[in-house]
Assembly symmetry: C2
Homo-oligomer: 198 residues x 2
């Protein structure tokens, strides 16, 4: 092996290490944020990832960098689900499937709800994803109302009401009855239907 080859191999190992470190930090961040919200101490993230705090800050200079990277897949999935729902020929089916999808995302990830907190939305990347999802959701709501399936007094904010209720059910039942949230969401969806309004 020439000195150049040796150098290239060493550099390659460094890059693999760096990529591994990055993944370890992101996985640790998702766990720590899930437990303690996205304001949790970054020292905890570094410790769980097995890296120094300096390494963490070198890769993710701000908390927003870390949060948006940790949740990028989830945020993209949120936007995708809304756009897929809009493409559904049955507006009620699109609307209700989207709510179930979002509640499922939350039920399987305790950190998910923290993405809609004021401090998360301070980050422009998270804000951008959430805005795109919200715009699509508003179009879903309009279509479902126009079709006559969704009650006229449904408010966009009722999505947050549903997510908060879902968080409460999840917190109490996650370990003993992990599908309980589906029953609650089913009742809420029945409550949202226009034929059911009282």
């Amino acid at each position: 092996m020439t000195p150049q080859q040796e150098q290239a191999e060493a550099f390659g190992s460094l890059r693999i290490d760096a990529a591994r470190n990055r993944e370890r930090i992101l996985a640790a961040a998702r766990e720590v944020f899930a437990d303690g919200g996205i304001a949790a101490p970054l020292e905890q993230v570094a410790q769980r990832a097995g890296v120094g705090i300096a390494t963490l800050y070198r890769r993710f200079p701000t908390r927003g960098d870390l949060v948006s990277a940790a949740f990028q897949d989830k945020l993209q999935a949120l936007v995708d689900a809304a756009e897929l729902a809009l493409a559904n020929g049955d507006p009620w089916e699109g609307f209700s499937t989207y709510l179930l999808t979002v509640c499922e995302m939350q039920a399987t990830d305790r950190g998910f709800a923290a993405l809609f907190s004021a401090e998360a939305l301070d980050d422009p990347r998270i804000h951008d994803y959430c805005t795109r999802a919200l715009v699509a959701f508003e179009r879903l709501v309009d279509a479902a109302k126009t079709s006559g399936a969704l009650r006229a007094d449904f408010a966009t904010n009722d999505l947050l009401l549903l997510l908060n209720a879902n968080a409460g059910v999840g917190a109490a039942t996650r370990d003993v009855d992990p599908e309980a949230w589906r029953r609650m969401v089913g009742y809420m969806l029945d409550g949202f239907r226009v034929a059911h309004a009282s």
Copy 2:
């Protein structure tokens, strides 16, 4: 004042002090249990009440003594509300009013939900109150189903589902929108009605 009168007066003051201490301990217990659940350290209760831990244990030898005394009014109100609802001529109105009452009790007292935890139900007094409330609730459910207003697949356990959802909404909105839980419960009640089942 005769020595006997002086003694009687001093004894009266002692009894007033004791009654005050008892009320202070119970008020502190309600606050501490609300924040930390009913397994919270009793030292915290004593500290908040401004009494020594020995005084607390002298008045309430077991945790169950303290918990059942602290929540006795709430537990009695729970039973009373169920029995009042049973006396309502309209079974659906009785059923829905009872659910709203229980959710309101929970919304205004974060310690309330802890009463339905396994550790609380270990205490025979709390168990007795909750059993009486549950028996009345089962009769409410039967009456509302028989009247044709409540969907046949409503399960008694859906009361806990509702309370868990209510806890989630309360936790997220208590400080910013303290009546938000009513909107969620309204949707759930619409979902419970037989005409609304899907």
